[in-house]
């Protein structure tokens, strides 16, 4: 079984960041999944020795920079989400595919709720239920990646 290289982790995080930097138009923007969080979750579940809560925090800072809001919002949301991802990581091998999807979906929703709370503190108002669409598209993307053969930590001996 080959070892996961740290370079591939960094490269994928960089690619996710470029995806965030794409000039999305208004309409597509509301559907855009949180690529960065998806990639972080993937590595947290797949290779927890290479990607940890600290990585999530660090990448969160860069996302904060891209979003242009107050520094630390995404960092905090990613940190807490990564924590919940990590504490259940070892149980993930026992999860079925559907359970894993639900798990990822609830993590994505958790990150969005934390962000919503932080935004509410800084004086923004809730923009409606469409706010949670990125979590749905995120989990669909996850499913797409799994069905295309991406190994998300389960049955990793099969490769």
């Amino acid at each position: 079984m080959h070892k996961i290289k740290i370079q591939s982790v960094y490269l994928s995080l960089l690619l996710a960041y470029i995806c965030i930097l794409f000039p999305w138009s208004n309409f597509v923007l509301s559907f855009r999944p949180d690529f960065m969080l998806l990639v972080i979750l993937f590595w947290l579940l797949r290779a927890p020795n290479l990607c940890s809560v600290g990585t999530a925090w660090f990448m969160g800072l860069w996302v904060d920079l891209a979003m242009g809001g107050i520094f630390g919002q995404y960092a905090l949301a990613y940190t807490i989400t990564a924590f919940f991802a990590v504490i259940y990581q070892r149980r993930l091998v026992l999860f079925s595919k559907t359970q894993q999807l639900v798990y990822v979906f609830s993590l994505l929703i958790l990150a969005q709720i934390i962000l919503l709370i932080l935004k509410a503190f800084s004086g923004h108002q809730f923009i409606g239920w469409s706010y949670f669409i990125p979590s749905v598209s995120g989990v669909l993307l996850w499913q797409l990646a799994v069905s295309l053969g991406l190994n998300t930590g389960r049955h990793s001996h099969g490769q």
Partner: protein, 347 residues
């Protein structure tokens, strides 16, 4: 199944619990504290602004890479645009240029006349605003705010506070500048307010962005205020930020309810907030007028505030005619035409 799990643990080079270092909880506590400290620093103190600027300029190559596909698409789209389309556009532009040339001649005459009248009144000369054409790179990525990022920054002498206008009206205001880009907060953003004036009767008000749908509000106006649906709102220019007379919005809906002393007025922005690509960044020179104007204002015994500045030449006349008296923006043609029209109507 058991065998599968066993192998799954085997494939990791070292058991996870040996290489993890500090426990996740310890990391969570540490990084949460760090994030909270960062948020407090960034929102209350201004220490991180320089760091943000430097980091964004560091990110610029990445941004260029990310923009490449859409830029390439736009370029090829332009290249392959049909002959017929170009001809039609050319004809239209010629017609427009002809019309504007006529307007421009009139404008020159009027500005000359205006200068002479100002000289007679010994008032300040109209200041010409510095303007830069910029292109919108992308819309803001934060769903909670209405922002766009344009491709001109401090390298092109853009300062925060500059007004962003398109061919039809005001779009917003530059709120943050980076070396190569700057962030424009749209007038529909909840945090942006813009001083306006009803073109029909000169009533002054402040329009606030609504934040959610692309509308503006006129709060704190009494229920019997003289505003009708369809009224045009233009910038009043008394803030010293926006040049006077630029179209901002038109009144879309006006409701009064017996339980509120205020009217509920909803306006739609005139400018193509969501669909224009080129914007003009107009900044009114700040330092110059204050040094030039002080003696004159001191003589008159007045406080040199931006509001006063705009009102000085009007003082002897009817205050309702502010837009026709204040600076005529030489760079933006259409609003000027409106301005002169409104001036004539009132005369």
């Amino acid at each position: 199944m058991m065998r599968g799990i066993h192998q799954n643990f085997d494939q990791q080079p070292a058991p996870a619990f040996f290489v993890r270092g500090p426990s996740p909880l310890a990391r969570l506590t540490f990084f949460t504290a760090l994030s909270l400290a960062l948020m407090a620093t960034d929102s209350r103190l201004q220490y991180l602004n320089d760091m943000r600027q430097n980091l964004v300029s560091l990110l610029h190559p990445l941004q260029v890479i990310a923009n490449a596909p859409s830029d390439l698409y736009a370029l090829s789209d332009e290249y392959f645009s049909t002959h017929h389309h170009l001809l039609a556009e050319n004809a239209q532009l010629k017609k427009q240029a002809l019309k504007q040339a006529a307007d421009l001649q009139k404008l020159n005459l009027l500005s000359l006349e205006n200068d002479n009248l100002r000289n007679l009144l010994q008032a300040q000369q109209a200041l010409t605003e510095a303007s830069t054409l910029a292109e919108i790179e992308h819309v803001g990525r934060d769903a909670f705010t209405k922002k766009v990022v344009v491709n001109r920054g401090t390298n092109h002498l853009i300062v925060t506070g500059a007004a962003a206008v398109d061919a039809t009206g005001v779009i917003g205001q530059v709120t943050r500048t980076y070396p190569a880009t700057s962030e424009v907060t749209l007038i529909t953003d909840k945090s942006l307010a813009i001083p306006v004036q009803v073109e029909r009767n000169g009533l002054r008000a402040i329009a606030f962005g609504h934040g959610r749908d692309n509308t503006l509000e006129l709060p704190y106006l009494p229920a019997n205020v003289d505003i009708q649906v369809g009224d045009k709102l233009v910038t009043s220019g008394i803030d010293g930020i926006y040049p006077a007379g630029l179209a901002v919005a038109s009144v879309f809906e006006m409701k009064t309810s017996p339980d509120s002393p205020f009217a509920h007025i909803i306006c739609l922005p005139t400018a193509g907030i969501e669909n224009s690509r080129q914007v003009l960044l107009v900044s009114i020179p700040k330092a110059k007028p204050s040094t030039e104007l002080k003696p004159a204002l001191n003589q008159a015994g007045k406080i040199p505030s931006p509001a006063e500045k705009a009102n000085v030449p009007v003082a002897s006349e009817n205050t309702a005619q502010t837009p026709s008296q204040t600076a005529a923006p030489s760079t933006v043609k259409k609003p000027t035409a409106q301005e002169t029209r409104s001036g004539h109507a009132q005369n």
